[in-house]
């Protein structure tokens, strides 16, 4: 008698239970809409449809890409990290201040990365071992990092270190006369590494497991503690790295840098199709999310007629439209 277990695994069963497409659907939707938006821009604005516009999109948002990568880890595990914007500011400040004091730029950058990772780890410990809501723990991190930035200096500190400035301006020429910068390369490399870690390592899969059901993951004997602290450490590291990219972009350290950038990062992750409840999503989606946000901003700068306060409203409306369309596209499937 064979009608047991999985009763007659017919073709239907296979189709129903094995559908990678449905898992990737939100990402595919984001991608399609991004292409659509870009095409729309190309039709509406002259000079929009140019590779260099796309490359500038990456360049202007490289730090946000890195932040969104870190945020993806945290959100996949079922948490949230509100501190990243402040950590970016702190990182620019530490870099500027230490280089002003004459530190080698390498030592300075290493310090920034270390501080960011430590801050992240600290928040992870609060979340996991003291069972503090991620929202609260990282909100405390937000205030702490911003406060530390003020403590170092209230004023903007320019970065004049030669090596650092050189790095900031070094451009990579691509075939066809296009150019890009190292910041873009670093941001894309982060995406690739993160995608590998999430898809192909024990740590990465455990992140998904914890986001899927933390209690089960614990009973399965998975290393929940390592993962829960780890994702915040990674997010802290990414925020610090993002801070360095931001410093390369602005060549200054300032306590008012990156105010509210954590929300952009969260928005990018969500637009990229990652569920806020954890367990489902992809880093590539977050990259696309950042690009969508960036495209909206590019629209506004191309349009030129919009006042600055309209920018925010436009972003809000476009974001809403985008998320609604994406939801409609995804829902039909499930």
């Amino acid at each position: 008698m064979s009608a047991t277990t999985v009763p007659n695994p017919t073709t239907w069963d296979r189709v129903r239970t094995y559908s990678p497409a449905s898992r990737y659907l939100p990402v595919v939707a984001t991608f399609a809409l991004f292409i659509g938006m870009f095409g729309f821009g190309g039709i509406s604005y002259q000079g929009f449809f140019d590779w260099q516009v796309f490359l500038s999109l990456l360049l202007d948002n490289s730090f946000l890409i890195v932040l969104a990568v870190g945020m993806t880890f945290v959100i996949l595990s079922g948490g949230i990290d509100l501190s990243v914007g402040s950590v970016v500011a702190l990182s620019t400040m530490i870099a500027a201040k230490t280089m002003e004091m004459g530190w080698s730029p390498y030592l300075s950058m290493a310090t920034v990365l270390l501080v960011g990772t430590l801050l992240g780890t600290l928040m992870g410990v609060l979340v996991h071992y003291l069972d503090i809501e991620p929202f609260i723990a990282t909100l405390a991190g937000l205030f702490l990092a911003r406060g530390l930035t003020y403590l170092i200096s209230k004023n903007s500190i320019p970065i004049t270190d030669e090596t650092f400035v050189e790095l900031a301006f070094a451009s990579i020429t691509l075939p066809g006369g296009y150019y890009t910068t190292w910041t873009v390369v670093i941001a894309l490399a982060t995406v690739v590494v993160a995608a590998y870690v999430l898809a192909r390592t024990r740590f990465g899969r455990t992140v998904y497991a914890v986001g899927g059901n933390e209690a089960s993951a614990m009973l399965m004997g998975l290393r929940v503690a390592v993962v829960k602290v780890g994702v915040y450490a990674i997010s802290g590291f990414c925020a610090a790295l993002g801070g360095l990219l931001f410093a390369l972009y602005t060549l200054s350290g300032y306590s008012l840098h990156a105010v509210g950038m954590e929300l952009d990062a969260i928005a990018a992750v969500v637009i990229g199709g990652t569920l806020l409840t954890g367990g489902r999503g992809f880093v590539v989606g977050s990259l696309l999310g950042v690009l969508v946000l960036g495209t909206i901003q590019t629209f506004i700068s191309f349009d030129g007629t919009l006042n600055s306060w309209w920018t925010r409203i436009a972003i809000g409306v476009l974001l809403l439209v985008f998320v609604v369309v994406q939801r409609l596209m995804t829902r039909r499937q499930s």
Binding site: A3, V6, R16, Y18, R23, R202, A209, M218
Partner: protein, 524 residues
């Protein structure tokens, strides 16, 4: 030593030393003494049953051993060394592999990942997906299971998930394998497959700990057993030297009388009412159920028999509006109705107790009382709160009627034992006094005493005019309760027969497809 050690311990063969020895282990949760100086030994190459009523402390003892709970007093010796595992991971590392009572896997990963997470084959530091899927498939095949390792776990019914959890536990080389109610949602055939695996483990010298409320299963497979009652050790016994009757007495501390009453009533005449309450006309949904006709009369219990995945749960979900039908329709009291959501069904006084209590029923952070009143409150609308005196009275009534322990209505649901949670869910729907009650595996994980109580209750409710659709993997139970039996296979109804002189064997034959040309056909 203390009296618990002296009393009721079986002889050990000289050549064998226990691989696990728990001595005088106590655990209290607040003022609930879940374990009170309990001792248990597991021998290599033996299947050991842990017996006791719902809430006796079986799962707690297992969690104490495997590092989920830390123990208040007592000693745990594993392989001759004293241990107190801090996490389940530590227990696993020491060779103790566990399937906990509720399926504890992650729905958003694939079957293969759920089986191998934490010990995936790796290559160059990364997971070797191909090798992982191959290994998962090999293990599943060895267990005789046809499950696609690349499919998402959450897409499978609860029973398949349970099988995957078992596969995860037996995939490793373990010294001790613990199975806490692994058979609660399995069919006879899967149970046999599981038993084959357990026998093989026993031959290889593994100590297997097995929990089940099905006495027949225990008698078929177990060698030795430890009996708990109210968090205390009653006795350790050899299965072969203990009669079932004696075992029941040891478990519940008194004789059990309720069981026979129903059997004596069996064969009671079909209800004389001919008022159809719920009628399905060609009801179906692509891929889950072929067009099905079914009429449920007032005061009638209709049993659904069929194997896992035969479409029995799908039928229930369609009748309740939890899934929407894409062909056919429903008549409620002869009026055509569309049930677009459970809300509509509840408004029409149809209630559905789902098989997947963890995902669809239990709200762990609410109290027992809140969980019980959820459906009633929802059907009244949230703006009309139930008067608190009524609440208290209803809750007290059902806690008593179903013998829910602890009896405190303010206990948090997640702290209840598995069987007691199931009773609360049942109460949730009984409280709404529906016209039609759909029960999908209502007695899963419930001990024999309580099972008999619930069956009696269902029979009584039907006698008062309620119609019941009763789904259970346990065919004996279906036959004991139903007036009429519907047999399902391959996602469609293959037979409907009056429950007159039908035996479990008859049902099995119909299910297996070797349909006999006899007069089994009942009035449709």
């Amino acid at each position: 030593m203390t009296h618990t050690q002296e009393r009721g311990v079986t002889e050990l063969p000289n050549d064998r030393r226990p691989v696990v020895e728990m001595r005088d282990v106590s655990i209290a949760f607040g003022n609930v003494q879940a374990l009170d100086r309990v001792s248990m030994r597991l021998l290599p190459g033996e299947i050991h049953a842990l017996m006791g009523e719902n809430g006796a402390g079986k799962s707690t003892l297992i969690k104490a051993l495997t590092g989920v709970y830390s123990i208040d007093t007592g000693r745990i010796v594993v392989g001759g060394e004293e241990h107190e595992f801090a996490t389940p991971a530590a227990a696993q590392a020491a060779g103790i592999s566990t399937v906990y009572q509720e399926v504890n896997l992650v729905p958003n990963l694939t079957v293969a990942e759920n089986m191998l997470l934490g010990r995936e084959p790796r290559r160059f530091g990364g997971i070797n997906m191909g090798a992982m899927n191959r290994r998962a498939r090999a293990t599943l095949e060895r267990l005789g299971l046809d499950i696609n390792p690349g499919s998402l776990l959450g897409h499978h019914p609860i029973a398949v998930q349970q099988l995957v959890a078992i596969a995860r536990a037996v995939d490793v080389d373990a010294r001790v394998v613990i199975l806490d109610e692994p058979t609660s949602s399995l069919d006879a055939e899967e149970v046999q497959k599981l038993f084959d695996v357990m026998r093989r483990l026993r031959e290889h010298g593994v100590a297997v700990l097995f929990v089940s409320h099905f006495l027949d299963q225990v008698y078929e497979i177990a060698d030795r057993m430890t009996i708990l009652r109210n968090g205390r050790l009653v006795e350790e016994r050899m299965v072969a030297e203990t009669s079932q009757l004696e075992l029941v007495r040891l478990m519940i501390g008194r004789e059990l009388e309720v069981l026979d009453r129903l059997d004596r009533d069996h064969g009671r005449a079909a209800p004389n009412s001919a008022t159809p309450v719920l009628t399905a006309v060609g009801l179906g949904r692509k891929g889950s159920l072929e067009a099905t006709d079914l009429t449920l009369f007032e005061g009638e219990v209709v049993g659904i028999a069929g194997l896992l995945g035969s479409g029995r749960t799908e039928l229930a979900r369609l009748l309740f509006g939890a899934d929407t039908a894409d062909h056919g329709g429903l008549e409620v009291r002869s009026t055509r109705r569309r049930l677009r959501s459970p809300r509509h069904a509840i408004d029409r006084k149809i209630a559905f107790s789902s098989e997947d209590r963890k995902a669809e029923g239990v709200i762990g952070d609410l109290t027992v009382a809140d969980n019980m009143l959820l459906a009633l409150q929802a059907s009244r609308g949230w703006l009309r709160p139930i008067p608190s005196a009524t609440r208290a009275k209803l809750v007290r009534e059902y806690i008593q009627a179903l013998d829910i322990r602890p009896t405190d209505p303010n206990a948090l649901m997640r702290n209840l034992s598995g069987g007691n949670q199931q009773k609360v869910l049942l109460a949730r729907w009984l409280i709404t006094e529906p016209d039609v009650l759909i029960l999908d595996e209502p007695t899963r994980g419930i001990d024999i005493g309580a099972k008999a109580q619930i069956q009696t209750m269902v029979a009584d409710l039907a006698a008062k005019g309620m119609s019941v659709l009763f789904i259970s993997a346990e065919l004996e139970e279906v036959l004991r309760l139903s007036h009429r039996v519907v047999v399902m296979r391959d996602r469609r109804k293959i037979r409907e027969l009056a429950n007159e002189d039908v035996s479990v064997g008859d049902l099995l034959e119909i299910i297996a497809g070797e349909t006999r040309q006899t007069e089994l056909e009942g009035p449709a």
